[in-house]
């Protein structure tokens, strides 16, 4: 188990992580969620001892960080790359060596994982001869080769084709069964929803939601409507009884007042839109985020990007 207690980190002008606490339990997939720029990567870097927190503790099964613990962590960073000019197996052996695995052992484990990802033929190729997707798989192999007890995966699915996404999902499932402490960080709520047992949503450095996914969903009730439609959906948020609306090009999620009737909503909506699907359901994580923060993940990210551009211009 990893316990994160009251973590703070301030950079020159911004408070990147503001009193963040959570527990990651073994044998469950823990989702560290939130828009880009929310403080997920900073939190992860503090857990990895790459940067020091201003305050707070990170405890690994009752012990603080040490070199022994470092060797039991596997980390797949969000943005990734490999040495292009070096041979695949040498690269794997190097990173395994840094985690305390002997070169011989690393070769054995490396062959096992390459086989699992259908990359055996490339073992002696240079990394640059591999396709982008295959390089991604190699990076994943590097993060788990030393059989780490704690595994932190930052956006592991980005850049993978659907077939390999399924393969990776299965492997994460296996790691979960093996009782690993698994942290899965992403800004894609739909993906987290399919994967996670527990979730912690961060926005602007603060925890806005934390708990077991199923219980949290129940807590936010059934005042949620999902509509698929054709037409201009912007009118949906103007319908009486609609508290919040996350509107996409042909799909929307509405949160309605507790006394509003879905029947009225469909009636109003059908005046302007061709409705293809209408469903009253548990809120998605996107909807919960909207409810808690007041804007969608995309809106927060857009705003964050604008702020960063402004800051860089100064």
């Amino acid at each position: 188990m990893i316990e994160v207690k009251n973590l703070y980190k301030t950079f020159t002008t911004v408070i990147a992580v503001n009193d963040v606490s959570f527990k990651v339990e073994p044998g469950r997939v823990f989702g560290l969620l939130g828009p880009n720029g929310a403080g997920k990567t900073t939190t992860i870097r503090m857990m990895l001892n790459i940067i020091q927190p201003d305050a707070g503790d990170i405890i690994f099964d009752g012990r603080p960080f040490s070199i022994d613990i470092q060797n039991t962590i596997g980390y797949l960073p969000e943005e990734r790359g490999l040495y292009r000019k070096n041979k695949l197996m040498h690269t794997i052996q190097y990173f395994a060596g840094l985690k305390g695995v002997s070169s011989k052992e690393a070769k054995k484990l490396g062959m096992y994982w390459l086989e699992r990802f259908d990359l055996t033929d490339y073992a002696n190729n240079k990394v640059e001869e591999l396709s982008k997707g295959n390089q991604q798989k190699v990076q994943f192999i590097i993060s788990v080769l030393h059989s780490p007890k704690y595994i932190i995966l930052d956006e592991p699915f980005s850049g993978l084709d659907p077939v390999n996404q399924i393969l990776l999902k299965d492997i994460i499932g296996d790691l979960r069964k093996e009782g690993k402490v698994l942290i899965f960080s992403t800004h894609q709520m739909e993906q987290a929803e399919k994967m996670c047992d527990d979730v912690c949503i961060i926005n602007r450095g603060r925890v806005v939601m934390y708990g077991k996914l199923a219980e949290e969903k129940k807590k936010y009730g059934v005042n949620n409507i999902m509509i698929e439609f054709e037409g201009d959906g912007s009118m949906l948020e103007k319908i009486g009884g609609v508290k919040r609306a996350a509107i996409y090009s042909n799909f929307a999620e509405l949160e309605i007042d507790s006394n509003a009737k879905p029947r009225n909503i469909i009636h109003e909506a059908s005046k302007d839109l061709d409705i293809r699907k209408f469903e009253v359901k548990e809120p998605t994580l996107n909807a919960i985020f909207l409810n808690l923060v007041g804007s969608t993940v995309e809106e927060v990210e857009r705003k964050h990007e604008e702020e960063q551009l402004k800051e860089e211009a100064v």
Binding site: Q70, Y75, R80, L82, G97
Partner: protein, 415 residues
């Protein structure tokens, strides 16, 4: 520390095998050969061939004496005469016509040139040399010397000096240059030999520092651009990473120098090139090693905050420019190693290794100079390494815009 060694091993092994290293391995000796050995080698080759020189002496003023003297005095390595003199002579022909024949022999490449002895040479003292190429100063000097000797000989004999004594009077002078050291040892050494021994050490050191500094920056920038640095930083401390890189690349540099030393020794024994005066050279070693670490720290400080290959190239060229400064002073230092400015500059850590590399092979500096320069260099290297560690720690995780100096200073303070 164990992880630092793993990093060092990786940096070393993967680079020793790389094409870039193997290419750079050959570029350096090629440059050295081009600068040092090629001119003297070419000169030597030309001296290896016998030249046929014509002689137009219509009144036989100096012949046959001149022929014998030129052919006897100058010999090639195999003791054959360097010049073969071919007298251009036709009965009943005037000087002008003989010169015409001489000219046509030059153009038909039968002779390299010809010497013309005018009948009134005793009055004018002015022999003439005709050739398509009049740039070979050594030929001119040799012919002039022989003709002067013959003229002097005749004049002395005319005045009644015993021919046996004349030979002694006009005996050629041969200047031998000897270098003395405070220990009282004496050693034959010419300007060129000293120049090259100093220069080669300076070049070797600067090339080594510049190339491995560039490799260091490139490797950090590469790891930053493809974010490998994140995995590395999560696997070992930044100190291990920095130390590992510096150790690995130093080993790489030492390999390079070791190979060059072997090539050098092979070259010396094979071709008999001399020119390296090797006394005191052992003293360069500490300057070499500490200076290398000093510049490694500088490369870390200026290089690790960068995030693109172009920026890295720009910044390394600045540092290399600083490294080049000692070359400007190389000539002055060799002619006059005691000059105050040369001495003063060797106390500035940036220049200490290179200026001491210039000074030591020429004149052993005083013990005071050696102790103080090494002290300053060591101390500043320790301070710089400490700063480099602080900067590296933050810099490896900062992407994008190049940080300002103020920002880097803050990293050092808070890191």
């Amino acid at each position: 520390m164990k992880k630092a060694l793993i990093v060092a091993k990786w940096e070393y092994i993967e680079r020793v095998k790389s094409k870039m290293f193997i290419i750079s391995l050959f570029i350096f000796p090629v440059i050295i050969v081009a600068f040092a050995v090629l001119p003297s080698l070419l000169m030597g080759q030309m001296e290896d061939r016998q030249k046929v020189i014509g002689l137009v002496d219509p009144e036989n003023v100096l012949s046959p004496n001149i022929i014998q003297k030129i052919e006897d005095r100058f010999t090639l390595k195999d003791d054959q005469p360097m010049y073969v003199i071919r007298k251009i002579d036709e009965p009943n022909t005037d000087a002008e016509t003989l010169r015409m024949i001489g000219n046509s022999l030059v153009f038909s490449d039968d002779i390299a040139g010809y010497i013309y002895i005018p009948p009134d040479i005793f009055e004018t003292n002015q022999p003439e040399y005709y050739s398509t190429n009049v740039g070979n100063i050594q030929d001119h000097n040799r012919f002039t010397a022989v003709i002067r000797d013959i003229l002097t000989e005749y004049r002395l004999e005319e005045r009644g000096v015993d021919p046996g004594i004349v030979g002694e009077i006009i005996k050629p002078v041969n200047l031998r240059t000897v270098r003395i050291s405070p220990g009282g040892e004496e050693q034959d050494a010419g300007f060129l030999e000293i120049f090259w021994s100093s220069y080669i050490f300076l070049m070797a050191m600067m090339m080594l520092i510049a190339t491995s500094g560039q490799i260091l920056i490139r490797s950090v920038v590469e790891e930053k651009t493809n974010r490998i640095i994140e995995v590395l930083a999560s696997s070992c401390s930044s100190t291990d990473l920095m130390a590992g890189k510096i150790i690995g690349l130093s080993a790489l540099g030492l390999t390079q120098i070791g190979l060059y030393a072997m090539m050098g020794i092979a070259a010396v024994t094979q071709f008999g090139i001399d020119g390296l005066s090797l006394s005191n050279v052992w003293l360069l070693l500490p300057y070499f090693i500490i200076g290398y670490l000093f510049y490694a720290a500088i490369f870390v400080v200026v290089g690790s905050p960068l995030s693109s290959e172009q920026e890295a190239q720009q910044v390394t060229s600045w540092v290399v420019l600083v490294l080049m400064i000692p070359f400007i002073f190389a000539f002055i230092a060799i002619e006059n190693p005691g000059m105050p400015i040369i001495r003063a500059l060797s106390f500035i850590p940036f220049f200490t290794p290179s200026f001491m590399a210039l000074r030591i092979p020429i004149i052993m500096p005083s013990t005071f100079d050696i102790v103080v320069t090494l002290g300053i260099l060591t101390l500043s290297t320790i301070i710089l390494m400490w700063i480099a560690g602080k900067v590296f720690r933050v810099a490896i995780l900062s992407y994008g815009k190049r940080p300002s100096l103020a920002e880097i200073l803050r990293w050092v303070k808070t890191g």
